[in-house]
Symmetry: C2
Subunit: 463 residues, 2 copies
Amino acid sequence: MAAPGDPVLAELRAALPADRILTDTDVVGSYLHDEAEWAEYGRARAVVRPLETAEVAATVAICARHGVPVVPRGAGTGLSGGANAVEGGIVLSTERMRRIVEIDAGERLAVVQPGVVNDVLRAAVAEHGLWYPPDPASAPWSTIGGNVATNAGGLCCVKYGVTRDYVLALEVVTASGEVVRLGRRTAKGVAGYDLVGLMVGSEGTLGVVTEVTVRLRPARSAASRTVVGFFDTLAACGAAVAGVTARGLQPAEFELVDRHCLQAVNEWKHTGFPDDAAALLLARTDLPEPAGGQEADAILAEFEAAGARDAVVSTDAVEAEALFDARRLAYPALEQRGDAVLTEDVCLPRGRLAEMLGRIDEIGGRHGILIATVAHAGDGNLHPLLITKHGDEAARARAQAAFEEIVNAAIDMGGTVTGEHGVGLLKRAGMRRELGPAVLAMQRAVKAALDPHDIMNPGKAIG
Amino acid sequence: MAAPGDPVLAELRAALPADRILTDTDVVGSYLHDEAEWAEYGRARAVVRPLETAEVAATVAICARHGVPVVPRGAGTGLSGGANAVEGGIVLSTERMRRIVEIDAGERLAVVQPGVVNDVLRAAVAEHGLWYPPDPASAPWSTIGGNVATNAGGLCCVKYGVTRDYVLALEVVTASGEVVRLGRRTAKGVAGYDLVGLMVGSEGTLGVVTEVTVRLRPARSAASRTVVGFFDTLAACGAAVAGVTARGLQPAEFELVDRHCLQAVNEWKHTGFPDDAAALLLARTDLPEPAGGQEADAILAEFEAAGARDAVVSTDAVEAEALFDARRLAYPALEQRGDAVLTEDVCLPRGRLAEMLGRIDEIGGRHGILIATVAHAGDGNLHPLLITKHGDEAARARAQAAFEEIVNAAIDMGGTVTGEHGVGLLKRAGMRRELGPAVLAMQRAVKAALDPHDIMNPGKAIG
């Protein structure tokens, strides 16, 4: 993409050590898109992989002068195309900015560069008796910078909140290449608008995050109980979720795995889950004993009242992990069959979970597309997985039609088109329908205020 | 202020029922300022008290056409001058918009008009087994709309977070008089920038909040234990706070009352607190038994290790309330002596609490101003109360100098100039110093994007 004598590249080479800049076509090719199936991407002029904030600032300043798009990228595990390259732009990968700057146990905070992997941070703070809760399924690979960009959720957020709830402060390189510090190190603060909260979830469209200060919690006790139940109907499953909520119970994880996922995991791993059930619910409690046991029993009672079979409380960590494998393995089990998996991410009012699952089945049936669903049931956050064979273009077109219908159904039912994956490219049309013109105009006014020349990840999300 | 034939007033009268508009000078006078001591305020053209969103929209639209400032106002309990009238503007009081629109126990949310009083909401949701945690000291009088405008904190936020953590969605009348809905009813959502979080804490400078959707928690068990300890030195007190944090304990309230407050309460109510101590710490645990008892014992051990005297765990609700009276009565005890009380609100890293208390004593001593301090110790959020006699202008000047020195000390120590009261008028200079020019420019760009003609509460906070 980069022509010989490209002035932008020449300036970047003058400003940065040589190893920071990648231009080899094959290497650059591996940075052109994230894991969003079927999202378009352009050719990048180069990939820049800085080590320090000053290098990010220099890169953005050069791009700003030349009006060249900058696409910030973490580990590339995104599922909406938010990190996909823009034609003629620079991909700015923060993967090498992986220093843990500080862990302060007294203030319960950590300061990290954006390229620190989620699980690495979690392990590091655990050594200080602390816990960083946000746990997207990508935690072994995804970076804190990417988590911040998408306001990542995960399993624990049903009880402990999402990434935004844990970000105290950010260092950001603005669209003009200026380095600013937003937020604070104190527990509270109301001096000015919450620009930290605005940056979290902005998908790289307002600046590049170069340092993140996160709030931490005390480590939890290891003891936990897992409640499991299989349901013959989606309605019964929905009733169980509603019952748990209505009783004031607060499982630390509360997941759903539908029969298509159970079947795929059984086929792959011969796990022998009852796969004639409509869905499996998994709830984990992390309260100290005896409250944990009481909560688990209360959840079990709600499962049984809703008509669960094979419902049981497990206190065995190995057994519990085996049950959660049904959740974790669903995606690879579907994917390893050589299938293309388009991952959806809609979030509904909890009470409409069963209704939405029914709609998804109906939509899949009508379009002749297998749609397997995992869900953060306690949040009403569903991940329908639309399965097609690679290369089957007709099926792909049908899947994309089904995808848009699911998005519209979520809006119709008072939900949102994206619970935790972000808008990126795939949800732009849905987001516009969800927000409506007046709110969209406000969103764009904010974007224009902070990135007047539209160089930060243009065309993504609100851009 | 409103001249006969005032065209703005004429348009308001044509658009709204007569009882919505107040112009009597004495009545209007009672709406010109909040409870911030010594903050300036202007004369208002009129006070408008709408009942419905459409009336708010009509009012703002008329003001927008004429370039007349709009100052939104809740109950007027603010402590930074954020609701103070602007010369020639309209005060838009939401006090009559006090309908609880909906309580949805299944989704754990409530929808209210902005004039609903905090304690009224808390009582209403309690009937559904639910809890709205944010509990500013003004909860018996302050409104949810005002709480949203200032991102109000309170005692519970040390464990349960501040107002922003509980606002899911807002209906807002924008600066052009348009009605928009921001946010969502779902547990999670990342469709677009977080404009809800941006509005929370924006002190009426970006629009008028006309409806608030709040997230609720299951009600807590009534059981609680209170740990109390008196400390001879501020250093010992700071060590106790640090010890509790380092041990991973999470009291649901964790308050500090200094000796000046103890003395004032003793003088007023003859309570007999040991007022030769430097400070009293009060910690409340709300875990279910036996975890609650264990946590209380662990807190007590930290108090004693730091050198507390008269340290004890109380399980008696009446006794516990009597202890918390020392905290609650501090302000009225100081005020009832006929004194002017200027309330400060700085937030420090927790570890620097004792150091800051020492600085406050030093500053007060040097300026000859009595400064009594209460603090949300667990948050590092201090409320120094600067006491002068009404009418003593020399003392007032010295108090204002001391106030600015406290603000600067907070910045120097890595803290913020306002933890929960807001910037309003009193903290504008401090906020500018805290944020610095680059961040201030970003803040102002956001303000200009959403209120291009600067009619929303101009001159307050970031404006």
